[in-house]
């Protein structure tokens, strides 16, 4: 494919403004955004929900919703001004020059057509003949490193894993050899290992195809690992721009600096609390004078509220829309909750929760069985946090459900709470046990009944769990609201009237309704924006220090796990592969699987150790591998014994157990943490 105009940049936004017409008013959603993406360059656009990131992607393809329009400036894709293109030229531009990959590949693919049919469609648009379309589709799948393109072509989307689906979508996008590839949160919702694979793939393909990439994400680390330049969007304005490394290492806008301080990236539990950004992003059009960030900025002065800052150039291709861009280092911390130290743990501390030989077998049609959890034993001390990590399908949620009594464990296992065995099903447990084990779900939109008010949501939990009603209940509801930093003003509100962070606070308050002993936190912050995430993490830390509650924290974000956990358990295919103090598990020596998980986590500094790639998919739990269940994907598999014998799981003196045949001195030692230099040589040579 030849392109007449290869000299012009892939994307040029020149003072682009977009407005949505709402209730007779034009609300500015993007204001004077100027940025350029050169051919072959990867540009990251970061910002929280509502910042206008996705509007950029829509505007430059001219697919804004009916009430939206480009109200000023220009967007040029490969030199063509999208605002002035005629309908034929516009279609041509969308068909040839721009391709977009959306967040959820499951929704981007048509579930009723085979992948082959959908791939062929792309080439049909490009004018390929009948059989040629399929041949080129298959070839394209090969180029996105799908090892068996013929099989994938014949498959329906639901028969593929999430990572594989995203590869297919990327293949379709790249099929037309676009000048600009837009990736809108392409890895949100994927496992860390798959996210890493997809990011690596995109990076390789960028070099192969020479396509420019506009990478839109709220995940700063993912952006840092892929992009060479980054723009930070806040309330529709590009507040800072620059080379990725320099920008993340030394932010020159208080908003960027605030976001970075919100990230749990260094240090273990007991370290300083995360910072946060107070307040909320302004509704579009609400701030007409001065700097949009001033109401939330710790550096703001009179001048900021009066005069909108221009984009100050600060050398080496960097710019910041802050009057005081040279004083960002002085940005005061916005929160200072008390530090929390890890609880005492030893033989004399009675565990609050003890799981012994828990297994869970599900029956499948046709007399097949799948063991979702196998022989898990662990204990939890009062005030302790156990981080639970592993890919989807590793059994984390099953374990949580067994503890909560939402699913019943197989006979032979035992769950004890404060030394007393409790029934497998929540319906058979006494109230004392029910109130002691609670959960904070991942998504408050789903976990809070949208038909009920905050008062009812928390009140009902108090009523059921504490067994009190009337004024006593109302008093407790008020105290719980205060504990999660909400006010009685929120009592009559329904969930949709609250922001994401406030909703999650209500969910936390509900879990704390009646002095719980153990709370399962199932990805408690992954549905939230970075600045809100840090506030919720701080809240969980504070409540734990106050009330000596124990957490079982399920998260795919290793930064979050590191920040909150005293101990970490790593699960794979329903088995515990490793368990031990957070520091030992993360720093090593650790299990090869843990090592691979750690190496997959991108860091905001953009540095990454040697990526340890896991070959293939998680095996089917219906038919798990013999011997060590990890042997089919293990990069450190060394002998026949891995396939024949399941390794032992004996803990060392500090309670660190690793299910691996390799002796400890041969096991990998990881980086000391995301952000620290890599030390994966052992893995490379082993």
């Amino acid at each position: 494919m030849t392109r007449t105009d290869t000299a012009s940049p892939a994307l040029e936004l020149d003072d682009l403004s977009v407005a949505y017409h709402v209730r007779g008013r034009d609300l500015p959603v993007l204001s004077n955004v100027t940025l350029t993406i050169r051919r072959g360059e990867a540009y990251g656009l970061v910002g929280e929900s509502g910042s206008g990131k996705s509007t950029v992607a829509l505007a430059l393809q001219r697919v804004l919703p009916a009430n939206g329009r480009i109200s000023g400036g220009h967007a040029r894709v490969a030199g063509k001004d999208v605002a002035t293109l005629g309908s034929a030229a516009l279609r041509q531009m969308r068909a040839r020059d721009v391709a977009m990959v959306f967040q959820d590949p499951g929704k981007a693919l048509n579930p009723s057509l085979t992948v082959g049919r959908q791939m062929a469609e792309v080439f049909e648009i490009l004018g390929a003949a009948g059989k040629e379309r399929y041949r080129r589709g298959e070839e394209m799948l090969g180029r996105v490193r799908i090892s068996d393109p013929a099989r994938v072509m014949a498959s329906f989307p639901h028969q593929l894993s999430g990572g594989m689906q995203q590869r297919v979508v990327i293949a379709m996008a790249l099929a037309k050899d676009p000048a600009l590839l837009i990736l809108d949160e392409p890895t949100t919702g994927l496992d860390a290992t798959i996210e890493a694979e997809v990011l690596d793939l995109v990076d390789t393909l960028r070099q192969e195809f020479g396509a420019a990439i506009l990478f839109i994400s709220h995940n700063l680390a993912a952006v840092a690992s892929l992009c060479s330049r980054v723009g930070v969007l806040y309330a529709g304005r590009l507040v800072e721009e620059g080379p990725a490394r320099a920008l993340f290492a030394d932010p020159r806008h208080p908003y960027t600096a605030g976001l970075l301080r919100c990230l749990p990236r260094a240090g273990f539990k007991g370290g300083p609390a995360l910072d946060n950004i107070p307040g909320f992003p302004p509704p579009p059009g609400s701030i007409t004078r001065g700097c949009v960030f001033a109401p939330r900025c710790g550096l703001a002065e009179e001048r900021c509220r009066a005069e909108e800052p221009p984009l100050y150039a600060i050398g080496s291709g960097r710019g910041s829309r802050c009057h005081f861009h040279d004083r960002v280092d002085d940005l005061p911390r916005m929160s200072e909750p008390p530090q929390v130290n890890s609880p005492e743990r030893g033989p004399n501390v009675e565990p609050v929760l003890k799981l012994e030989h828990l297994s869970k077998t599900y029956k499948l049609p046709g007399d097949r069985r799948v063991q979702a959890l196998r022989d898990v034993s662990l204990s939890l001390a009062p005030g302790e946090t156990l981080g639970l990590v592993g890919e989807s399908g590793s059994g984390k949620s099953t374990l949580a459900n067994l503890v909560l009594g939402l699913a019943e464990h197989d006979a032979g296992g035992r769950i004890s709470l404060d030394g007393t065995a409790i029934a497998p099903s929540v319906h058979a447990r006494p109230r004392e046990a029910v109130k002691s084990v609670q959960i904070v779900f991942q998504n408050p939109d789903s976990a809070l009944n949208r038909a009920h008010t905050v008062k009812h949501l928390i009140g009902r939990a108090v009523e059921r769990l504490a067994g009190v009603g009337g004024a006593e209940r109302d008093g407790r509801v008020k105290r719980l609201l205060e504990a999660v930093r909400l006010t009685p003003r929120q009592l009559p509100a329904k969930p949709r009237q609250l922001s994401g962070g406030m909703k999650q606070r209500v969910a936390v308050a509900r879990a704390f309704a009646a002095d719980p002993r153990v709370i399962v936190c199932d990805e408690p912050t992954s549905a939230l924006d970075v600045s809100v995430q840090s506030a919720i993490l701080n809240l969980l830390t504070e409540l734990q220090a106050e009330r000596q509650v124990s957490y079982i924290l399920i998260s795919h974000d290793l930064g979050v796990v590191r920040h909150l956990s005293d101990r970490i358990a790593v699960m794979y295919l329903g088995r515990l592969m490793e368990i031990g103090p957070a520091r030992s598990v993360l720093q090593g020596p650790h299990h090869p699987y843990t090592e691979a998980l750690l190496s997959a986590a991108p860091t905001v500094t953009g540095e990454r150790g040697t990526r340890i790639k896991l070959e293939g998919q998680i095996p089917s739990p219906v038919n798990p591998p013999t011997g060590c269940v990890f042997n089919t994907r293990c990069p450190r598999k060394f002998a026949k014994i891995c396939e024949t014998e399941e390794p032992g799981f004996a803990p060392d003196a500090e309670g660190h157990a690793i299910r691996c045949h390799l002796p400890r001195e041969k096991l990998g030692r990881g980086r000391t943490g995301p952000g620290a230099p890599a030390a994966a040589e052992t893995a490379a040579s082993g």
Partner: protein, 297 residues
């Protein structure tokens, strides 16, 4: 409060989400009042409801009073819609005739909706074999022509207004149950269901307090659609002699009594009741459509 992470604001002050999600949040009522279909439908239904309630007070003649000296009189200034075979004023009878149908049809719909909602909740919530067994039963019921089923029961039990209500209600139950079941299934997987379980709530609470308030929109739409069918079904039953009984001025009954003289050219004895029935069904359906659109937004 100043240490608060995200700050506090009144729930009403919630920041509007920017981006493509921006849309003026309009109340369902606001949308309805701007929908011509809904307004026309609601106008027709309200007109007939008004007639059902107050027509006896203002119609020019007693709808039951016969006048054997003036039978089958064509429309005139005296009798706007003429008179029927025994000289009753057709105009008065049509207006008052709304009364029976607008009592029986809503009650039957209410019964069918209530029962159907309960059955649908049970099917959707429990799933598994409960769902499978009730599901098969519903399929068997739905495979029979409804009007025939209703007729058989009415023949067996004898026509009486409460029987008509119960029979039509029961006939509608499986239809409503199917809709409710589908709505429950889309709620069932949301986390508020396990969230209720971990505080030890029983099945009844989860079904009726947690799930039911979230599935009102499809239930209301279904009930309105059913009301249209109920009017139609009950008018048919009356026409066949198993619904409302004489001497009521009911429309279906009026058509049945007079269609024999239609061939003689006495169209005014039948057409007003026919148009009235049709307009009411159309009105209810317009309301249903308006509701469906408004609630879908």
């Amino acid at each position: 409060m100043s240490a608060t992470a995200e700050g506090i604001e009144t729930p009403e002050g919630e920041a509007a989400p920017a981006g493509p999600a921006i849309r003026a949040e309009r109340s369902t009522l606001g949308i309805l009042l701007r929908s011509p279909a809904f307004l026309i439908g609601a106008g027709i239904v309200l007109f007939w409801a008004f007639c059902a309630a107050f027509a006896p007070a203002f119609v020019p003649y007693d709808p039951l009073a016969d006048d054997l000296l003036n039978t089958l009189a064509p429309p005139s200034a005296e009798h706007w819609f003429g008179t029927d075979q025994i000289g009753r004023d057709v105009f008065s009878r049509v207006l008052v005739g709304a009364r029976d149908i607008l009592t029986i049809a809503p009650l039957a719909t209410l019964l069918g909706t209530a029962l159907g909602t309960a059955v649908g909740l049970v099917m959707g919530y429990f799933g598994g074999w409960v769902d499978a067994i009730i599901g098969r039963l519903i399929e068997v019921l739905l495979s029979l022509p409804l009007i025939i089923v209703a007729l058989m029961v009415l023949v067996a039990l004898g026509p009486a207004t409460p029987t008509v209500i119960i029979v039509v209600g029961l006939v509608f139950t499986p239809l409503v149950a199917r809709t409710v079941r589908a709505a429950v299934l889309s709620e069932r997987h949301l986390d508020y269901v396990p969230a209720a379980a971990v505080r030890g709530e029983g099945a009844l609470h989860v079904m009726f307090v947690e799930i039911l308030p979230n599935i009102w929109p499809p239930i209301i739409v279904e009930a309105t659609v059913r009301l249209g069918y109920a009017i139609f079904t009950i008018a048919s039953l009356s026409f066949l002699g198993f619904g409302v009984q004489p001497p009521s001025p009911d429309w279906g009954l009026a058509i049945a009594e007079n269609y024999g003289v239609l061939v003689g050219g006495f169209w005014w004895t039948v057409v007003p009741a026919t148009v009235a029935t049709a307009s009411l069904v159309v009105g209810v359906n317009l309301v249903a459509e308006g509701l469906q659109r408004a609630l879908a937004e």
